[in-house]
Every structure is written in C-alpha cells, then in structure tokens.
C-alpha cells in the first residue's frame, strides 16, 4: 500500500502541475451578452489523463470560456463503479448539459434516462449507451469495424499466404466501440471462413494487460496474422509484445484512437502499430464544444431523435503511405 502511495504521489505532483497549467491556458474573454453565460456543464469521462479526454476537455473548455458557461470535470479514473456514483451526484447538481463518456452500453443507461427526464440535456461523447439522449458526438464504430475487418481480410485472407489468424483485443467488451466493432468485424469475417479469431479478450484498457494477452496468444499461435486492438493506448502494449517476440512486420497491429501525435504517430513511426483508424480527438473536442453551445441555445432535432455528429476518419498507415500530418498535437504543458 505504501509503495503504491509513493508512485501515486509522484503522479499526483505531475497531475497537479498539469491541472494548474490547464487552468492558466484558458484565458479567453467571455462574451457577456451570450445567452449561454452562467449555464452549467458537467463532463464525466471514463478517465482524465489520457490524450483522448484531455484533448476533448481542452476544446470544450475553450467554448465554455468563450461563452461564459461553467465547465466542470468529474474524473472516474477508469473505475466503472465510481463512475455511476459520480454521474448520480452530477445529476443532483442539475447542470444544463451533461457530457457522458460511457464505459459500457448498459452501465449509465438508467441514469441518462433519468437525467433527460429531469430536463438535463445529455451529450454522449464517442462511446454511446443503449439509451438515446439529446445528442451524440463520436466515431461511427460500425464503419471502423467493417473497414478494419476488410483490411485484415485483404492482408490475411485467401490468397495472402498468411494463416488468417486474428486476435481481437477490446478495451471493455461491453463498451460501445467493442460491441459495434466486433459485431461489424464478425459480420465481415463470417463471409471469409479462412479468417479465424483466436482471441477476443478484454484488456480493461490497460496496455500491460493487452501485452500479457498478446504474449499468451503469440505463444499459442506463432503464426498470428493480425491483432485488432480497439483502442490505441492499450494496443500499444500488444504491439510491444509483438516487437518483443521479434515478429514486427509479420504480425499486423491495427488500432483505433484519437490520433494524437505522441501516441498514434509515434507508435506507427517506431513500428509498434501498423495502422490506426483515427477519429481525431481534437476535432471531436471542437464538435463537442459546438454541440454543447447548440444544446445550451435550445437546439433539438425536429423529430426528437438524437442530434448526431459523426467524426470524420483519418487512416494513418505505416510504410510508404505514412503521413504524420494526419496526427494532431497536444500543446506542450506550460
């Protein structure tokens, strides 16, 4: 416990520095005439401290500062249990807009419904729930799943001379991305019986867990053709296992992610990842900020369904087609 606290201490000091610098960065003057001024927005992410959520938060804060509404973050730190507690408290605080990052399609469904019933507009970001709400900003998972699966079929399927063995590493099996990407991918693989899914084990979004899973999979299947990691952060762990096994280039490592340079492009440059379908977290942050502005101004869809913004995709590939300009850069901490 004490050893654990020591490392926590170090991380906390770094964390505090980050928090302080973020507070300083948002120095844009608000427009006092804005109808959004004084309203309240709460963001409940799965966890802060990752480029995805930090990237979104940065843009949303800019919008909040520009229009004079408050923007608060309640960090669940990868703890699904804590997350529904945090959301319950956030609903009690009666914000105007609640931004929710669903860890699973089911977990927060009841609370989203409850919030909507109380007149709180819920914006679901990137990972949606079973429960529809006012708006959704995020990637089209079915499309990504299909595209990656088709790419895998092309590289590993009939005529490629490869084994056709694929390992899927979801973050959380029941998270929206995994549910939809798996569904789409299996649909594609079904038409190509030469593709065999040898593993479909969740990494809990942890690189280390993904690495361990990959080590085991590679031991059992040294002729593995591709790894389909559902999120770049943990898939980098899988890529490292491939590297350690000396199989770089032989086993393709696919990932999806926010496309931040230090994460995605670096990993592709050093050969940890083979390709990333990026949904561009920076762009999503701006989309989310815009959506919040619209919701605060009373925007609704004409038929009461979810307002949806689908994030444009950028496919970053290793090799001759590699283009680092497809990545965005998190500004260095001041």
């Amino acid at each position: 416990m004490l050893r654990c606290l020591g490392s926590k201490l170090r991380r906390t000091i770094v964390g505090l520095a980050i928090g302080a610098s973020l507070a300083l960065a948002t120095g844009v003057r608000a427009d006092p005439a804005s109808s959004m001024a004084g309203k309240k927005v709460i963001f409940v992410p799965i966890s802060m401290g990752i480029t995805l959520t930090e990237g979104w938060a940065r843009r949303m804060k800019e919008h909040a500062a520009a229009h004079g509404y408050s923007f608060e973050i309640r960090d669940a730190a990868f703890n699904t249990g804590a997350m529904s507690e945090l959301l319950a408290k956030a609903i009690s605080d009666k914000p105007d807009v609640l931004v929710v990052h669903n860890p699973t399609v089911q977990l927060l469904a009841r609370q989203i419904k409850q919030a909507q019933a109380q007149g709180i507009k819920v914006l679901q970001i990137n990972l949606q729930s079973n429960q529809p709400s006012a708006a959704f900003v995020g990637a089209n998972w079915t499309r990504i799943g299909t595209e990656i699966a088709e790419d895998i079929v092309k590289k590993c399927g009939a005529g490629s001379g490869k084994s056709g063995k694929v390992a899927i590493i979801p973050g959380q099996l029941t998270a929206a991305d995994s549910v939809m990407m798996n569904e789409a991918a299996f649909k594609v693989f079904k038409e190509h019986p030469e593709i065999k899914v040898v593993s479909n084990q969740a990494s809990n979004w942890e690189p280390e867990k993904a690495r361990q899973i990959t080590v085991t999979v590679l031991q059992q299947n040294p002729d593995l053709c591709a790894i389909f990691g559902h999120w770049d952060v943990h898939t980098i762990g899988a890529g490292n296992a491939v590297k350690d096994a000396g199989l770089s280039g032989k086993v393709l490592v696919y990932a999806t992610g926010g496309g931040e340079y230090g994460e995605a492009c670096k990993a592709i440059e050093n050969g940890t990842l083979s390709a990333e379908w990026s949904y561009d977290a920076d762009g999503q942050g701006r989309d989310a900020g815009t959506m919040i502005d619209l919701l605060l101004q009373g925007a609704t869809s004409s038929n009461g369904s979810m307002l949806t913004v689908e994030s444009p995709l950028k496919i970053i590939r290793a090799g001759p087609d590699y283009d680092p300009s497809l990545c965005w850069k998190m500004p260095p901490k001041k």
Binding site: G19, G49, I73, N79, E85, A88, L107, A109, R110, N182
Partner: protein, 709 residues
C-alpha cells in the same frame, strides 16, 4: 432499657443530588466502552464538517439519497469482511465474490430470464458457495485465511472473467426490464433507496448477532482467543466456517443489489473492493482487531471512508490526488487513534481518583474513653478458629449457636458450637462475602462485594437475590450494577436494607475511596416479596454498617469516612437521613444491636490529625496517589482495633480497645450473643470472643429481631 433518641430533633444531613466534577466526567467517559470508538466517530464528524465547509450543496436531500443508494453494496461488503475478521480470519476474495455473484444475478436475469426472486437466490447461492469454499479451507481444514482467500480471490476472478467474456455483450444489449428489478435497483421506500433499507436491516441483524446471539458470541470468542474459545467448549472450526459462509452470503446480497442497480458488470467490477473494505474496517476498529464486535464503529468507519472518497472524487480533483489525499487522511486518523488507544488507560488512571476538600468535624463524646484513658479490654479476648479462616469481615450466630463468617476466598464457613474448633465450608458463594444478617426463616443473607445480595438457605442453597438497582439519572457511568455490597439488615416487613459502599472502586481499592472523600456510596433496599431492588438514598459517603434500631422503625447507617452514624426513618425514607452520632474517634464499620438497648460499633481504624489535615488538601492526596507507593500513603490508623458501645440515644458509654500488639487489630464487626461479644476483622485470620460482664446471658440477635431462636 437505656435512653432513647428523638428522631425529629436530630440534625438533618444534606445529601447531594448530583456528584459531578470535570475530572470525574473525563474519567467516566474514558471508562465507557464506547469511548473506544471516539476517534473514528470524531474523524467521521470532521469529515462531515470538512465536506460541508468546502463544498456547496453536497448534503442536499438528492445527494444524500445518491450516497445511500451507492453506499449500500459497499456497506454490505464491509459488514461481510467484518464478520470474518471478527472471527479471526480475513477474506480477500470479497471483491471477486462480489463480481461473480453480480454476474450470476445478471446472467439469470438477462440470459435465463428467471424471475427476480430466483435471481436473488442465485446471487445469494453464488456468494454462499464461495464463502463455503473459503470456510472449508480456512476454517475446517485450517489452511491459512490469507492464503486461502487470496487463492479464492484470484481463482474466482479468473472464473468470473472466463464466464463473463462470452456473456457480457449479450447482457449489455439485453432489453429485458422488470418492475420488481427496477424497483430494487432504483426505487425508494419512505424516500430512502430500497438498497439502503437492506443495508440497515443487515447492520441491525449483525448488531443483534454480535450482542445477543450464541453464534455471534462464539464468533467473537473464536476471534479473540482461539485457544481459550476451544477450551471453553466452542466449536471453533465450525464457528469460523459459518462466519465465512455468512460473509459470502452477505456479499451475494450486496452483489444482487449492485446488479439490480447498475444492470451491468464490467471486467473491473469489485476490483480493489477488498482493500476499500479493509480500510473502512481498520478506521472503524482502530486497527486490524479480531474478536471485536463493534458493528456501529465499523459502519462509522465505512461512512467516513465512503463520504471522504465520494466528496474528493466529486470535487473534480485528479484521481491520483484523490487517492493520495485519502491515504494521507487515513494515516492521520489511524495514527491519532492508535495513540489514543495506547494512552487511554494511563489518562484514565491519572484522572480517575478525584479527591475533594473534605472537612471532618472535631472528635466528640469520647473523652475519657480513649485508649490512653481506659484499659485494653480486648486483650483479654479468647481467640477462636485461629489460622483456619481468612478475613471474617462479619460474624453471625444461628439458633444453635453455630458461628458463621465469610472468607476472602468467597465461601461462607460455619464454625461449630460449642467449642468452635471445627471449621467447615457452609456454602461456596464466590466474590468477597462481607456483611451478614439472618432473616425470619433463619436463612443467612450475605452482602458480597463484586456480586450483590445473596441468600444462603439452611439447606445451603445459594441464591443471588439482586445484583442491580435502578440507574441514577445524570451519570455517565452505568451504575446499575451493585459494586461493593457491604452490610445489611432486615426490617420487620422482610425488606432487606443494604449498603453499596462505593460505586467507583472495587474491594481491593476501598482505600482510594477514602482518599477521594466523595459521596460515592448508596443505600439500597430489596423486597423479597416483589423481588425489586430500589435505591433508597444515593450519594452517601462510604455507607457501611446497617442496623435496624430496637424499635424496628429506624435504620442506622454508618458513614465510615465522615466518622458518623446516619439514621433513616423507615416510614419516611425519602425525607433523607439525619445524623445520629457524629465526631466518632475512628472510622465506623458494622453496627449491631446490644442486649441493653444500645448499639455496638466496630471501628475499622482510628482517625489521626495528619489524615484529617490531608483530607483538607485534595491536590496533596491526588499527587500522593500518583507519586507514592500505596504502602506509604497517609492514611487512618488501621492497626488498632476498637469497639464502641453507645446507648439508645447515641452517647458513647463504653469502649473496648485492643493492645497495640494485638491480638485482634482492625475490627470490622461484632455480634453480641448470650453474654459474649464475637469479633470479626476483614484482615484477620481469627475471631475474638469477649465475655461481657453483666450482659443478658439469654439475649441473642435472632431473638431481638424475630422473637425466637
């Protein structure tokens, strides 16, 4: 017949209604059981105040409901771990068990479409089975609890991951809803979430279990000292086994509530839960303490941790910082608690003795009767049963002239008439038998320090008549238990009046009561007809000997440290006592009737000017008790024995002194019987008998009281 007193002209004694001082309040609080939980409770209050001060709208009704809703499953898990720890084990598998049981519930609900009652059963069964395995290995087979449950934690987590992999998506995308399920998961009853009611009921159940039930006591005994529990005849292994099963069952219940509320499990469900629960337990109990059943304290610890964690999370701080802050605050709380527990006994010991300025009136009425002025008549006493008895505080004789006395090892012995050389144990009572009396039927009534009032029949049956009286108002210390029953007498209507000399000290420490000088004693009564015990008069200064007057209408009570005799009117007890005799030259102990209408008073010790002066200086006595060994304390002179005889009006008419060299020393009682005086002493190993010249040779106590025998 000698002179008579007139009750109405005697001076009234003012008895204080309440004895209270800051030091006494502190000492009384420190000696209460619940003070053990003071620091966890204070920590809880501090957390509440801290959260109130630093947040806005945290304790709104809405958020309190949130807290209640989300706290309940965690609270149940803490409760489960608490039971196992109380039994001397530990359960690291609670988190895995929780996840597995929640998965079982969701699987049964969403995949098998079972009714909610069956879902509950499945969840409970899963929890109980895991508890069963833990219990069988750790309890029955005697594998270490840590290793067993660590193994269970890993194994069950593995099974959970394997089992859930294939089903989680199906569960997450299931559309089944059920009114009952939603009601349990998110509805309220009397504005409070359902799950919180479940927690409240479970806590009440465990509280009652540990306080009242045989199983609960066995669990605590097994946890407190396994070996002693086994020697006490407890099935230790089975007890521990069932503790694990019960814990598993409670975890299953918690998981059911969680499943109904969240409608989902994730791969991280229950991860780290065992450490959260352990932390709550450690904060509540002030350490990892097996064998302690303070359910409320554990729940306070849980509430502290839970609210602290929740408030920190909600404050929007980074999660790393939340954990750091939690850790720091917990270490702070625990270090204070540990220090407090460590030093509590010393603080109590130094605060307990609380002397006051105690003014003793001048000695009066004894001029011409002092040892320097009369011959030591007791030097001529015969010695009976020398070396065969130990500590006859009081002596009494029956109709056949057999002599009875209590002894230090808790027995009532009979010394057979007529030669008084045969000593036999008449009845084994226990405690420290002190004052004796005989009732109309010839049973012997005994005041037993540490026990209460006991009746020994002629058939030698021992019956505890009473060991409790009503609790006095406005005291912190629970004083219902009779601590030092000292002497007694029986009124014509059969009511037994007896003194409880001090509520604050045990028999070994009666000397400290003198040094304190406060009115710590009380006069009690017991009515054999109604079997009720009453407090007749509270707050008396060391009430000791009790004697019914010859007319049967008044009661004399010796107040030892004030060197006086008080007198009550039995027809008007609530009017309080009057002072019958004051200014005695020594400390009066037992008082008994004399054949000529007067009374005998045993003097346990002699006053001296130094002690009288020291009694005026409370600070001096306090320092003395703390800094000086007891053998060197300033104290009354206990080395010389004496008996006073007063007439019916309270005038000293005769004195009987011992030689400084004995043989009787400290005399605590005397009985006149057929022309002789039988003398007992609480520290003596013999009984003295003195022939009384001119006394009625047919007079006995029994005949004086009951007219026969």
């Amino acid at each position: 017949m000698s002179a008579q007193f007139d009750f109405s002209t005697l001076p009234k004694l003012r008895v204080p209604l309440l004895v209270m001082s800051p030091r006494r309040v502190l000492a009384d609080i420190l000696s209460r059981g619940w003070v053990e939980n003071a620091v966890p409770f204070l920590a809880f209050v501090c957390v509440i105040v801290g959260v109130l001060a630093t947040t806005k709208g945290y304790f709104t009704l809405d958020n309190l409901r949130n807290l209640a809703l989300y706290a309940s499953d965690g609270g149940l898990v803490v409760l489960a771990l608490f039971i196992v720890v109380a039994a001397g084990g530990i359960d690291l598998s609670v988190g895995s068990n929780f996840a597995m049981s929640a998965f079982a519930a969701l699987y049964c609900f969403h995949i098998l479409n079972l009714p909610v009652a069956a879902v509950l059963l499945a969840s409970l069964a899963t929890g109980a089975i895991i508890g069963l395995v833990n219990g069988a290995l750790a309890g029955l087979a005697g594998c270490g609890a840590l290793l067993t449950t660590l193994g269970a934690m890993i194994t069950v987590r593995g099974i959970f991951t394997l089992a859930s992999q294939g089903q989680l998506v199906a569960i997450s995308t299931s559309s089944r809803t059920d009114e009952m399920w939603d009601w349990i998961g998110s509805d309220r009853f009397l504005t409070v979430p359902i799950s919180f009611w479940v927690l409240v009921i479970a806590v009440a159940g465990v509280l009652v279990m540990f306080r009242q039930s045989r199983f609960g006591w066995h669990v605590l005994a097994a946890g407190g000292n396994r070996k002693a529990a086994r020697h006490g005849g407890i099935h230790v292994k089975a007890t521990i086994f069932f503790a694990y099963v019960l814990a598993g069952l409670i975890v299953g219940l918690a998981a059911f509530l969680y499943a109904a509320r969240e409608n989902a499990v994730a791969s991280d469900t229950g991860v780290g839960m065992e450490f959260f629960a352990l932390t709550a337990l450690v904060v509540g109990l002030g350490g990892f303490v097996p064998g302690r059943g303070s359910t409320v304290a554990v729940m306070i610890g849980f509430a502290t941790i839970y609210i602290l964690n929740n408030a920190l999370l909600n404050s929007g701080l980074r999660s790393d910082f939340v954990q750091l802050a939690m850790g720091a605050i917990l270490i702070f709380i625990l270090s204070i608690d540990t220090k407090f527990r460590k030093h509590k006994h010393r603080l109590l010991a130094s605060a307990y003795v609380d002397p006051i300025d105690f003014k003793l009136g001048e000695a009066a009425g004894s001029r011409g009767f002092m040892p320097s002025e009369v011959a030591p008549k007791l030097a001529g006493a015969e010695i009976l049963a020398s070396g065969m008895i130990d500590g006859p505080e009081d002596v009494i004789l029956d109709a056949d002239d057999h002599l009875y006395c209590g002894t230090r090892n808790g027995s009532l012995v009979r010394i057979a008439a007529p030669d008084y050389t045969q000593v036999e144990i008449f009845a084994q009572i226990g405690g420290r038998p002190l004052g004796l009396a005989s009732d109309r039927e010839g049973n012997i009534l005994v005041c037993v320090a540490g026990m209460g009032l006991v009746r020994v029949s002629k058939e030698r049956e021992v019956e505890l008549l009473t060991d409790q009286t009503q609790r006095s108002l406005l005291t912190i210390q629970d004083d219902t238990t009779i601590r030092m029953a000292d002497d007694l007498d029986v009124a014509p209507d059969g009511v037994i009046y007896f003194s409880d000399a001090t509520r604050r000290y045990d028999i070994e420490n009666w000397g400290l009561d003198l040094l304190e000088g406060r009115p710590n004693g009380r006069l009690l009564s017991y009515d054999p007809k109604t079997r009720r015990t009453r407090t007749v008069c509270d707050n008396l200064v060391f009430p000791n000997g009790v004697c019914l007057t010859h007319d049967g209408q008044h009661l004399i009570v010796a107040s030892t440290w004030t060197c006086s005799l008080l007198i009550f009117d039995l027809a008007a007890l609530s009017a309080g006592p009057r002072v019958f005799v004051h200014g005695l030259p020594g400390y009066p102990d037992n008082v008994n009737r004399a054949s000529d209408g007067g009374y005998w008073i045993a003097l346990a010790g002699m006053r001296n000017p130094v002690t009288d002066l020291a009694m005026r200086h409370p600070g001096l006595r306090r320092r003395m008790t703390r800094a000086v060994a007891p053998t060197h304390w300033l104290f009354g002179n206990l080395n010389i024995g004496g008996v006073l005889k007063i007439d019916g009006a309270g005038q000293i008419v005769e004195t009987y002194w011992d030689e400084p060299s004995g043989p009787l020393y400290m005399i605590t009682s005397m009985r006149e019987h057929k022309g002789a005086l039988y003398l007992g002493g609480v520290t003596n190993n013999k009984i003295g008998r003195l022939r009384l010249a001119g006394a009625d040779p047919r007079w006995t106590g029994r005949r004086s009281y009951w007219g026969r025998g």
